[in-house]
Subunit: 264 residues, 2 copies
């Protein structure tokens, strides 16, 4: 395998651009998976990447050797460690990246319970919400134009592979999705909504969550059929949006009897 | 007010060290609050800071003017914008920081329901868990030695002021806390535990949550009275630790009838 050491190599330059820039990812329709967990999840659920990239020191790690063996015939590039670190966003990269095509936006309206996100900008929060949604068995995710780029390496890392079991639409017209949704659309309000625990959440629900700072845009919120308040014992506090989403989504799981769960 | 522009000014140097280094925070017993929300929450719940620091352009903002007016006689320092940005960890700082003494570690054992955290290293997760704990009315938080520095500006920012309504112990001996706890200690397990929704959570519970990668240390987990599994509809997924904590803590809130809640 060839080891590249030049920052000016065109492939290296393309990888660097993809690592840094959500617009570039959209323009190319490609992104990077960082680390063995994401690379292995992608192979299990989607297939082979366009390209694997390993660091020179990564080649010696048994964990990566085993992972490479699962990709026979795969085009693979080796980078000097210093160059690899420039592309990987992690402080101590394990030493493997995959260049993949961003999955195509699935056509059609929402099926069953789903998630609508308005201007969720923190990568960690967005990835955590996707993990919760995937774990709870939700299928469709609609992201409004103000959300963080969902296929950026940071959000992919925080999502821990959840991206590949969800049907994700970026830059969705959330108002149109709400108007066309056949079930109930519920959104959260810090106060004044119905208590989460007084609601009947059986059946299809589209949950609409808003930005970290401002909450859900008020014109969008007014289209929802219900406003839900998570009871705060200490009224001086508020919840992180990913924590609030986890609490609401899992109250739905509980009320729907968790019929597919392995341990209930 | 004097405007400082030199990186070599001793106070500027002290602020820079505090902004960057958790050990330095511990050594000095001080830390920095970044942004008007934290500064104002601190004033409401604790008192006046040692020092306020504003950026030159921040002085013109009505929001900061109003906040400064709430601190009469307060020692305040103005920094050139470029210098301020070096100290503030945020991409677009509003322009106010407070230097505070880290609150003293409260003495005595845990009272009522509480939280034990083992090696939670991500600042965003740690802050989010503190917000959830404070919102749910928990009082005592015990952090094992492997956790991120809880008084770092990043964790403070993610905590959104929750730090000031909790009794936080850093570098706690979690095994000793578990052994001395008068109620039940529950921990989470990805599989094989009792379903969260099959448990009676009334009364005092100490929740023990573990690190992002490895979960709870097995010798600590073996001291807990119960292992709880959050049902995963899709077994290929897992939950972010802050999402898992929110789900568990709020299931306790629900079962305990949310007696102090404003909206149930």
């Amino acid at each position: 395998m060839k080891t590249l050491s030049s920052r000016d190599n065109p492939t290296v330059r393309q990888l660097r651009l993809l690592a840094e820039d959500a617009r570039e990812q959209r323009r190319q329709g490609r992104t990077l998976l960082d680390g063995p967990h994401l690379v292995s999840t992608y192979r299990q659920r989607v297939g082979l990447p366009r390209l694997l990239v390993v660091s020179e020191s990564g080649l010696d790690k048994p964990e990566l050797e085993a992972l490479l063996a699962l990709h026979p015939g795969q085009e693979t590039l080796c980078l000097k460690d210093s160059l690899f670190r420039e592309i990987s966003g992690t402080a101590a990269p394990v030493g493997i990246l995959a260049l993949i095509d961003i999955p195509a936006t699935p056509p059609g309206p929402a099926r069953g319970s789903c998630l609508l996100l308005d201007a969720v900008q923190d990568a960690g929060n967005l990835g955590s919400i996707l993990r919760t949604a995937a774990a709870a068995g939700l299928g469709d995710i609609f992201l409004g134009p103000g959300c963080a780029g969902v296929w950026t390496p940071k959000v992919l890392r925080a999502g821990q592979g959840a991206h590949f079991s969800l049907a994700i639409r970026e830059r969705a017209d959330l108002a149109a999705v709400i108007r066309g949704y056949p079930g109930r659309v519920l959104t959260t309000a810090v106060e004044g909504g119905q208590s989460l625990y007084a609601l009947d959440l059986r059946g299809s629900v589209a949950w609409l969550f808003g930005s970290e700072g401002r909450g859900v845009d008020s014109s969008l919120a007014s289209l929802a059929q219900g406003r839900v308040t998570i009871p705060l014992i200490s009224e001086m506090e508020s919840l992180n949006v990913a924590a609030a989403a986890a609490i609401c989504i899992y109250e739905s799981v509980r009320q729907n009897g968790n019929v597919f769960g392995s341990s209930a």
